[in-house]
């Protein structure tokens, strides 16, 4: 079944030209980063494989634009978008993807574990749902320290099958912790449609705990941002946690090697999302329609990002691998 949800194109944009450009640029940075990541894999230049975020950019950017640098996020195996949106540098990300020494994790984590604690990213996680405790614990810590920080836990709808998520959501609600659970419902967990793995509704899981729960078009960056801005402000003020289900779609396979996909999802469905619901295209059109940017300005932004990404990639490809002597470094603090 193809879920079609009309994107909300109506209404004046309540953002400045500057914010609009930044949002556009951040989404485009993710898109271009992932294009390179895919090529690196196809060209055999990347050790292992990776899960691309392409198509879901509006979620990461809409959420992270609602956060401060000091706020925390936890991320997933499909985490490049979250990392970029929270403020990471592309060169150090590429370096990590390639297992190089200057990478964010000194080459010890790779695609599925990039952490950027200076920008509050507590790390991607290769255990589905595995970071729900960490995000909630960061919120507990923020509350105990009285720091005013908020934590966002990104997870795919596949993580709804994990008990940990429900355990920590219960505690977050009991104790009014400043944490927002952002469910990126991209329809598929690996090669299985979510309707085959998920009873009831996503929101219902939060509602059963008495937790605020919202559904939003995850292809509409401003819609995501609006909901998150309100929830983050409330959480900061002691208003407790919330869950947001963002309806979205991944354009590529589950991972870069998942190329023949028709046995689990039709090409027509992919095309429908790519052509009618692309978050960057839609947002660009809205910026132009609202007079906040011209088509030329957007093209210039795109070109600048491409340049940044190319330079970042060149840096990473030229960077050294970690010296084998580092293998025992940082097992213990």
């Amino acid at each position: 079944m193809i879920e079609t949800k009309e994107p909300s194109m109506s209404g004046a944009l309540r953002i400045s030209a500057e914010v609009g450009s930044r949002i556009y640029q951040q989404m485009w940075r993710i898109r271009v980063f992932e294009e390179h990541a895919n090529e690196l894999y196809l060209a055999g230049k990347m050790p292992g494989l990776t899960h691309l975020y392409t198509g879901q950019e509006a979620v990461a950017v809409g959420v992270c634009e609602a956060l401060q640098r000091e706020d925390y996020i936890t991320s997933t195996h499909r985490g490049h978008g979250h990392c970029v949106a929270k403020g990471a540098r592309l060169d150090l990300m590429f370096a990590e993807l390639l297992g190089r020494s200057p990478g964010y994790n000194r080459g010890k984590g790779g695609s599925m574990h990039i952490a950027d604690q200076e920008n509050g990213n507590l790390g991607a996680n290769a255990i589905v749902g595995g970071s729900a405790g960490i995000a909630t614990g960061a919120a507990l810590s923020a509350k105990m320290r009285g720091s005013g920080q908020v934590a966002v836990c990104f997870f795919g709808e596949g993580a709804l099958g994990q008990g940990l998520l429900h355990e920590v959501m219960n505690m977050a609600q009991l104790w009014d912790l400043p944490v927002i659970y952002v469910c990126e419902n991209n329809r598929y967990g690996e090669y299985t449609h979510f309707s085959e793995t998920t009873a009831g509704t996503v929101l219902g899981r939060a509602q059963a705990l008495g937790m605020k729960a919202f559904e939003v078009d995850g292809q509409d960056v401003l819609a995501v941002n609006e909901v998150l801005t309100q929830l983050v402000a409330a959480a900061r003020d002691g208003g407790g946690p919330a869950l947001v289900e963002c309806h979205t779609y991944r354009y590529h396979g589950h991972h870069v090697g998942d190329i023949n996909r028709e046995y689990y999802r039709p090409k027509a469905e992919e095309l429908e999302w790519r052509e009618k619901r692309d978050p960057i295209k839609l947002f660009g059109e809205r910026l132009v329609a609202a007079g906040l940017a011209s088509a030329e300005e957007l093209a210039a932004l795109q070109a600048a990002v491409r340049e940044e990404a190319a330079a970042a990639l060149a840096f990473a490809l030229a960077a050294p691998f970690p010296d084998p002597s580092e293998v025992t470094l940082h097992v213990y603090a």
Partner: protein, 342 residues
């Protein structure tokens, strides 16, 4: 007073008094919570109840429910919360009621806490202590009696502490709380009421330093946690029979003080390793290998191992009691070993 005793006495800052193992644990926690406001306790029934073993009684009265946090029955959940809190500036002490429940927290402990520092290239730290219990013969049957310290000792990134006396419990728990790594701290549930000398003041015992609980000449009994008392009782009996046994307690399974174990093995030439975990692939296997490797040419006999019998811990006392090493078993094995029959 022997030289050793004099040294030990001098190392203790204040006049010793006698308290129980659980009082020592509580005292270490209370002193650390007073010293550092980032330290907090989280777990099931830790506040007013003070845990089913009453180890934490009184803490919530002093530190309040904000720092002695009662949780739902969600072991993975509250351990996960502790990992996140530890990564962001707090120093949680998790109370996991029974060591058997390690099964429920393994992902948070092993895949998250233990790997975060390494995987992040040294940027993130997880200063977390998880206190839990071990030990059988409490008539608690198969799901509340296991000694699973081998499981966590297997994992790089974790520190594993197995105190055997109130003195060690207080000093090692302080070190654990001040350490920047995830530490699993095992308490012998049958030993909570054991008494021993514990100074009132502040002292910390470093990790990776074994303690010779009793010096001897003819045989080395390497024993951990609950098995230290068993080894000491065996040593008493052996002494009556003219055999001088040295009892060595590693105190931490990782880091492991290999030097002290090997030195004792070289001195006596006979070694029995005793731990309450399952014998199969257990702590005793690792310790025996370390000793054989380091002292092989000084040994007069193979290193022998005594662990829990490889069965789920049974309920009936007549069954349960034969699953765990006892002083009698240790004495009998020692005599066979010294006679060249083991």
């Amino acid at each position: 007073m022997s030289t050793l005793e004099a040294l030990v006495a001098a190392a203790r800052p204040e006049a010793a008094r006698v308290i129980t193992f659980s009082q020592a644990v509580r005292e270490a926690l209370a002193e650390e919570m007073r010293r550092d406001e980032r330290v907090f306790v989280i777990g099931e029934d830790v506040a007013e109840a003070g845990t089913p073993f009453k180890v934490l009684s009184g803490l919530v009265e002093e530190f309040g429910p904000g720092r002695v946090i009662d949780t739902p029955i969600s072991e993975a959940g509250f351990t996960g919360l502790a990992v996140g809190a530890a990564m962001t500036g707090m120093r949680p002490v998790v109370d996991l009621m029974f060591g058997d429940f390690l099964t429920l927290v393994m992902d948070q402990l092993v895949n998250q806490a233990a790997k975060t520092h390494y995987m992040s290239g040294g940027k993130l730290r997880v200063p977390l202590v998880l206190r839990t219990t071990l030990g059988a013969t409490r008539r608690s049957a198969a799901q509340h009696s296991q000694s699973l310290q081998a499981w966590v000792s297997h994992v790089p990134g974790l520190i594993v502490v197995t105190p055997s006396t109130p003195y060690d419990a207080k000093g090692l728990l302080k070190t654990a709380i001040r350490n920047d790594n995830p530490v699993v701290f095992f308490e012998d549930k049958m030993g909570y009421t054991d008494k021993g000398e514990v100074p009132e003041g502040d002292y910390a015992i470093p990790f990776g330093v074994a303690d010779v609980k009793r010096p001897g000449e003819h045989v080395t009994l390497v024993a951990t946690s609950s098995m230290v008392q068993v080894a000491l009782k065996a040593a008493d009996e052996l002494a009556r029979q003219g055999v001088s046994a040295e009892v060595v307690d590693p105190r931490t399974l990782f880091p492991l003080d290999k030097e002290t174990l090997v030195a004792s093995a070289k001195k006596t030439g006979h070694v029995i390793v005793i731990d309450e975990g399952y014998e199969r692939y257990g702590v005793t296997a690792e310790l025996a290998a370390v000793i054989a490797d380091g002292a092989f040419y000084h040994l007069d006999a193979p290193v022998k191992r005594l662990g829990a019998m490889d069965v789920p811990v049974p309920f009936a006392p007549t069954l349960e009691d034969v699953t765990v090493p006892t002083p009698e078993v240790v004495v009998a094995l020692t005599k066979r070993l010294l006679a060249g029959e083991a």
